[in-house]
């Protein structure tokens, strides 16, 4: 067996250029296949980790998935707001235990700013674990800010530092609220969710910094000592709701959806998430199918390369036969070459995957909140690699069996 291996290896080494191209083709296709799978797994985990501890999420009338995306994942923007009256009405209901309103729309150097109440940190959870502060505590003063783990780490903020918020969500923003800097009073622990990329301030603070803004433009400086009335929020982006009894979920949801005062949507996060997945499911499957086709293309390239050399190698086969190798050995040799090529392609592809992941990790996290992982491949990834190997064996059997048949017929007769 090892003799065959050495022979196969030497044979491939002799055709270095063709081999390199074949390996590269397979490697790239494997990279795509595994990359898609990795993103799929990480995206799922990231999204699924985010939603827990809330019975309902209420926002202005919108598609449930849209509401879920902007309120929880900070993806996209709300086109409308929920009036403060409605928020108060909601909180006053007997069957509602707590409400946490949030106000989105501002940013700090590309990170989303979430205006909310200090109850946010008490009620909202990720992966069934309550939020924890690694430093400091929730905001208390008007211009206090709490930072998500990534914001603090990436921008190098510590307790007591000062920061300026920008209007709108663009990363580089000419509209700065620099007349009103904030002070960092708390830093949250890592959650692996979009909370890590958020800056939290009080609802009143959002009001305060917008006092001197009319129609999206800043006019002069904000007043130094705003009154309580001025700080009263008139509307919010969404409200997280916790109920006294889960059994009231459907009833409260219906009541919100049918509210006469303003058009609103209440979603059950689990259900909206499932709707998101069925939408994404199609995209997932399309991507997986494409990746599989690319791998097939890569293996067919290997087939073409091997078939191309078959005629040249008839003499090789005749020599082996003269030495006492049977047609089975010839089959084994060719098959072994295919396996070696596939394995090399797999390893190279895997290596490329890790390199690319390491390089792109921070950008992907910033753009979509998905945290890529550099750990060992998951079970599904091992299965994919195994299928690629099996496919390589099947594809390799084609030139191998052709060589077998020819060798059987040719025997030792070297066709000059």
């Amino acid at each position: 067996m090892s003799a065959l291996l050495r022979l196969a290896w030497a044979s491939l080494a002799n055709r270095r250029f063709t081999v390199a191209v074949t390996v590269a083709t397979i490697a790239l296709s494997v990279l795509l296949l595994l990359g898609v799978e990795r993103l799929r797994i990480e995206a799922r985990s990231s999204f699924l980790r985010t939603v827990s501890g809330t019975d309902l999420i209420v926002g202005a009338r919108a598609h449930p998935v849209q509401l879920l995306l902007y309120s929880v994942f900070h993806l996209g923007d709300a086109t409308n707001n929920v009036g403060w009256d409605s928020v108060q009405r909601l909180a006053a209901r007997d069957d509602v235990a707590w409400t946490v309103p949030i106000s989105l729309g501002d940013s700090h150097r590309g990170y989303r700013v979430v205006g909310t109440t200090s109850d946010y940190f008490r009620h909202l959870q990720t992966a069934d674990r309550p939020l924890a502060f690694v430093q400091g505590e929730a905001f208390d003063g008007l211009f206090d800010a709490v930072l998500g783990a990534d914001v603090a780490a990436k921008l190098g903020y510590a307790l007591g530092d000062s920061m300026v918020l920008a209007h709108g969500t663009a990363a580089l923003n000419p509209h700065q609220h620099d007349d009103r800097p904030f002070k960092v009073v708390g830093i949250l622990g890592r959650t692996g969710t979009p909370m890590d990329q958020s800056v939290f301030v009080s609802l009143q603070a959002i009001q305060a910094i917008h006092l001197n803004w009319r129609s999206g433009t800043r006019i002069g400086n904000a007043p130094a000592e705003p009154t309580a009335e001025q700080l009263q929020p008139s509307s919010v982006t969404a409200v997280f709701v916790g109920l006294r009894s889960r059994m009231a979920t459907f009833a409260v949801q219906r009541a919100v959806n049918e509210d006469h005062h303003e058009p609103m949507t209440a979603i059950m996060p689990g259900v909206a998430l499932q709707q998101l997945w069925s939408m994404l499911g199609l995209v997932e499957r399309a991507l997986q199918l494409t990746a599989a086709c690319v791998v097939l293309a890569g293996l067919l390239g290997m087939l073409a390369a091997l078939l191309g050399t078959l005629s040249e190698r008839r003499r090789e086969m005749a020599i082996l036969r003269a030495l006492g190798a049977g047609p089975t050995t010839v089959f084994g040799l060719l098959l072994l070459e295919s396996v070696l090529l596939t394995v090399l392609g797999l390893l190279t592809g895997l290596m490329l995957l890790y390199l690319l992941t390491a390089a792109l990790m921070p950008f992907v996290l910033q753009a979509s909140g998905i945290a890529l992982d550099l750990g060992w491949p998951a079970a599904s990834e091992w299965r994919l690699m195994l299928s690629v190997l099996l496919a390589g064996v099947v594809v390799g059997a084609v030139p191998a069996s052709m060589a077998y048949r020819r060798s059987l017929a040719d025997g030792m007769m070297v066709k000059q």
Binding site: L48, V51, D95, R244, V271
Partner: protein, 167 residues
């Protein structure tokens, strides 16, 4: 050859017995009707309510008079319904869900009252299900005393299995 024949016969017989037991077990599973979960007096009241009017304003649900049927506590059986996930795990499985009699699409039909909702928290999270598909949910009904604003208890279930409902 004779020996092999006897073993084979035994195997076949054993298989038949096993299949028979399974179907017997299946035949024994009690079907639970959603209407059983509503006390008779409430049912009568519901019958006397006006027919759904798609033109008028929707009727605001009043569940202060909705009670569970206490004798259903401990009943084992299966009920056909829709699964509404409450909590989804990182592996995309469902760790907590509601079972309801219908998937509320029509906004003119009131949402299910508490005695038409079963809360289930299985020991092991179940595979993701389709929200629009019906399932047989099998298990043991329990009545939970939950402190809520209406001070009533509500149905939950110890789950045995979830299987697709195939008409």
């Amino acid at each position: 050859m004779k020996f092999a024949g006897t073993s084979l016969l035994r195997l076949v017989f054993g298989a038949l017995v096993w299949v028979g037991l399974q179907s017997a077990a299946m035949a024994e599973v009690r079907g639970i009707d959603w209407l059983e979960l509503i006390p008779p007096e409430e049912l009568k009241e519901m019958e006397s309510q006006p027919i759904v009017d798609h033109n008028g304003t929707p009727i605001a649900p009043d569940y202060s008079n909705s009670h569970p049927v206490l004798t259903m506590n401990g009943v084992e059986g299966r009920i056909p319904g829709y699964i509404v996930p409450i909590t989804v795990t990182e592996e995309n499985t469902i760790s907590e869900f509601f079972v309801v009699p219908y998937f509320g699409a029509c906004i003119h039909v009131p949402p299910p009252p508490p005695n038409q909702i079963i809360y289930v928290k299985p020991e092991k999270p179940i595979e993701m299900t389709e929200i629009w598909a019906a399932y047989w949910i099998e298990g043991k009904l329990k009545l939970e005393n939950q402190a809520n604003s209406l001070g009533q208890s509500s149905y939950s279930m110890e789950l045995t299995s979830v299987t697709p409902w195939e008409g």
